[in-house]
């Protein structure tokens, strides 16, 4: 079965792009292809000028289902990237204490101060999602792949996360690829939004978000943003009906 | 045997060891129809050692068995509640022996001093070593014993793990010469019978209470065994054919040699020629009991009548051989 039709797109370094589209249209699959976790059956994925043949190395990734290692505490889950980097002699691997501090700061930022010593099974769904997000960020990757990282969060925590993303981006350059169902989220965070359609998955529409970056939550109520969101809603709706 | 099987009396019988040449009297008695002719339907199972057979008869797993009479004496003393009794001797001279190789410079028992000797823990000649040592003038504690399963025994002196082994003469000698290709002249053997050890060997044994309940069955069994035994002595080759039929894996040439060795060294001797097959000489049996009790350090001494009864044997005339 073919999950994705030919999809060809280029993501400029330092930009954030978002993929939106109906459930099951192939967004998660696309992200895994980019990360090199799935092998392409046809066509090619090119990242940083090189075709992807195996898993990428310098990425941070958060999956749709937050996957924490159940045998490690929250903090130890966050130290995982450090361990790998250090063993691989990566220059970004600093000493353990620096990372610990960074991990604790991150946990604090996502509202999980003090949760470092807890076991993953003791966390709520949204808390796990936030830990998983921290793990994707902690080694300051050049490419960040996020699959609905905020779906299990309440509106406010979610908006705080948007702002966190914005601050991170402001502090350091990285390329972001975001899969989301929340059109406001896409508009707030991305420079380009790809609207996908199903059967097989393909990119139906591309929108450049013209608003200046960094953005404020108020900008989401601007006429431009409202209009874009309305337009994308319309673009997703008929696709689903065609599928049915 | 194809007469009405239902009217036949069933007997479960355990051998001492696998089906080989020396087991021919029993196999022949069955194959030639001697058992069936007596109205017996005998099942013959192989054994796991002539001492184990004693246990299996004692526990009632088997009605009758072919086991070591010396172990039976020991068993009776240790379990006075349910004694066994021997009703027919097949190996009149005990096949017990120590075997060694010339290359170790062992010419007589004295030379064994300081040597390691290999045998399974329950091996009869191993357990009778103290009395052999006494008779041969060797200090009993001047050797060390190494425990090993039967199939490991003969290769051990060949490879140099031990300098000597104890065991049944016909088994050990043939295994060394036939199977391990040691030249006959290389083998040194000390037969216990040549050192004043007057024991009997393997016998047909039965539980005393079972014997009381089934005297006729025992009588018929021994009659048939006597017939089979005589056939074996008369025509060992034909007996080996029966062995081969019962156990297709057997090597006929080796088993024939083994049988002939057993006949000449253990089954037929002057006493047998004089008194007939399967019987005993009570005076000798008394000496044998004395020796067993001494060697195994048993707390009490059974009488000859408690160990053997000839009451169920066919008349001496029928047991006579030429």
């Amino acid at each position: 079965m073919k999950a994705l039709a030919e999809v060809s797109l280029e993501i400029p370094r330092g930009a954030t792009v978002a993929f939106v589209g109906p459930s099951g249209c192939g967004k998660s699959t696309l992200l895994k292809l980019v990360a090199g976790l799935l092998a392409v059956t046809g066509g090619a994925v090119v990242v940083d000028g090189r075709p992807v043949t195996g898993p990428l190395k310098n990425v941070g990734m958060a999956f749709q289902n937050p996957v924490l290692l159940p045998w490690r505490t929250v903090l130890d889950n966050l130290m995982l990237p450090l361990e790998i980097l250090r063993e691989n002699g990566d220059p970004r691997a600093g000493d353990r204490q620096t990372w610990r501090d960074r991990a604790l700061t991150l946990l604090d930022t996502v509202g999980l101060a003090g949760a470092g010593d807890r076991q993953p099974r003791e966390l709520s769904g949204g808390m796990r999602q936030r830990v998983s997000l921290c793990r994707a960020l902690i080694h300051e990757p050049a490419l960040l792949l996020l699959d609905e990282p905020f779906a299990a969060l309440d509106a406010f925590t979610r908006e705080e996360m948007w702002e966190l993303y914005r601050e991170l981006r402001r502090a350091r350059e990285f390329t972001g690829v975001l899969v989301t169902h929340d059109l406001r989220e896409a508009v707030f965070l991305a420079q380009t939004i790809y609207v996908m359609s199903s059967n097989p998955g393909s990119v139906a529409h591309v929108h450049e978000v013209k608003m200046a970056s960094p953005r404020t939550l108020e900008q989401l109520f601007s006429a431009e943003a409202t209009e874009l969101i309305r337009l994308m809603r319309e673009q997703i709706r008929p696709r689903r009906e065609a599928l049915a | 045997s194809h007469t009405d099987a239902h009217s036949q009396t069933k007997v479960k019988f355990a051998l001492d060891w696998q089906i080989q040449g020396p087991q021919a009297p029993f196999i022949t008695a069955k194959a030639s129809g001697a058992f069936a002719g007596q109205g017996l339907d005998v099942t013959i199972d192989r054994g796991a050692g002539s001492q184990k057979t004693i246990e299996q008869v004692a526990t009632g797993t088997y009605d009758m068995g072919y086991g070591d009479i010396n172990s039976m004496i020991e068993y009776n003393v240790k379990n006075p509640r349910d004694p066994l009794i021997a009703v027919g001797i097949v190996l009149n001279s005990p096949p017990f022996a120590l075997l060694s190789l010339k290359k170790y410079g062992i010419r007589e028992p004295k030379d064994l001093k300081g040597a390691a000797i290999g045998a399974p823990a329950g091996d009869a000649p191993r357990r009778l070593w103290p009395i052999f040592a006494k008779n041969a003038g060797v200090p009993a504690d001047s050797v060390t014993w190494t425990n090993m399963a039967p199939p490991l025994r003969e290769p051990a002196p060949v490879k140099g793990d031990v300098k000597a082994i104890s065991g049944f003469y016909f088994t050990g000698f043939l295994n060394l010469t036939e199977n391990l290709k040691v030249p006959e002249s290389e083998v040194v053997a000390f037969n216990y019978s040549e050192y004043g050890i007057d024991l009997y060997g393997n016998a047909v044994v039965v539980r005393a209470d079972w014997l009381k309940a089934n005297p006729e069955t025992v009588r018929k069994f021994l009659a048939a065994l006597n017939t089979g035994f005589k056939q074996v002595l008369k025509d060992p080759k034909a007996a080996i054919a029966h062995i081969k039929a019962a156990e297709p894996l057997a090597n006929e040439a080796t088993e024939l040699k083994r049988l002939q060795l057993a006949i000449s060294a253990n089954m037929v001797n002057d006493e047998v020629k004089k008194h007939g097959l399967l019987g005993i000489d009570p005076a000798r049996m008394q000496r044998a009991i004395d020796q067993v009790v001494a060697s195994f350090e048993l707390p009490s001494k059974p009488t000859v009548a408690q160990v053997f009864t000839g009451a169920y044997l066919p008349p001496a005339s029928e047991r006579k051989i030429d």
């Binding site: 995982l80 790998i84 980097l85 792949l145 | 004692a58 068993y75 349910d82 190494t146 090993m148 399963a149």
Partner: protein
């Protein structure tokens, strides 16, 4: 009663009840001593023979642990190789299985023939019996690894070896420790078998001698010692297991 004390008291209670039943059954059904001696008689013999029993038990224990250690090492290695590479699995597994189907009791005489009588064949037998369950369980654990768990590490640029260590090993721990418990029992069985066939020390030897003396009480005593030692070894690994894999057990 705490869980801890219940874990010790409950099986002892059942064990005691079984012993009582047995003790009562022996005179009741007039069971011969050679068939089944009464527990009291066995206990008496064990007390009288405590010295030699302790000596032989220590010998068996050392043999078992050496063989077991080697088995865990090789079992892990093999399990990893088989679980990680389809080619290795396809090539080696059938041979391993064939080897495992050969009763080690049948191999002991060969080992004795090759290495002489004593501790070496016992260690080897222990090893041969113990490595297979370890290898199989580790291989199963690795082969049934959820893809998502290793994906987490793959995108960090982790090598196969790192994924094995960071995800494969911990994820497989419950299976691995379950296999250790089985393997240590197997190793124990292996050394005892070998001692029975050819050795001058060890519980296996003790039992062989007891059997040849019609000393069924001592033979049964040997069985009890084996059982007790087995429980002890098992218990040690069960404790280690609980420590290492608490996360896998919902309670």
């Amino acid at each position: 009663m705490t869980t801890r004390s219940r874990r010790i008291v409950l099986p002892l209670l059942i064990f005691g009840a079984l012993l009582l039943l047995w003790e009562a059954a022996v005179p009741l059904f007039r069971i011969q001593q050679i068939v089944l001696p009464a527990p009291s008689g066995i206990a008496h013999t064990m007390v009288v023979t405590a010295g030699p029993i302790a000596f032989h038990a220590r010998h068996t224990l050392v043999t078992t642990l050496i063989g077991f250690g080697a088995a865990v090492g090789l079992g892990l290695l093999l399990g990893f190789a088989i679980g990680a590479s389809a080619t290795v699995r396809d090539a080696l597994y059938p041979l391993l299985v064939a080897f495992n189907s050969i009763p080690k009791a049948a191999v002991v005489p060969l080992l004795v023939m090759w290495f002489g009588i004593g501790a070496v064949p016992a260690v080897l037998t222990a090893f041969l019996l113990a490595f297979f369950p370890v290898a199989v369980n580790v291989a199963v654990g690795l082969a049934t690894l959820e893809a998502e768990l290793s994906d987490v590490l793959r995108v960090l640029g982790a090598s196969r070896w790192q994924i094995f260590r960071k995800v494969g090993v911990p994820r497989t721990m419950p299976l691995f420790f379950a296999s250790l418990k089985v393997a240590v029992s197997s190793a124990f069985v292996g050394s005892v078998i070998s001692e029975t066939v050819a050795s001058n020390a060890g519980i296996g030897y003790l039992m062989a001698v007891a059997a040849s003396d019609f000393n069924t009480r001592l033979a049964f005593g040997g069985l009890f010692v084996l059982g007790a030692m087995g429980v002890l070894l098992y218990g040690v690994f069960a404790v280690i297991e609980r420590r290492m894999t608490a996360w896998a057990y919902a309670d």
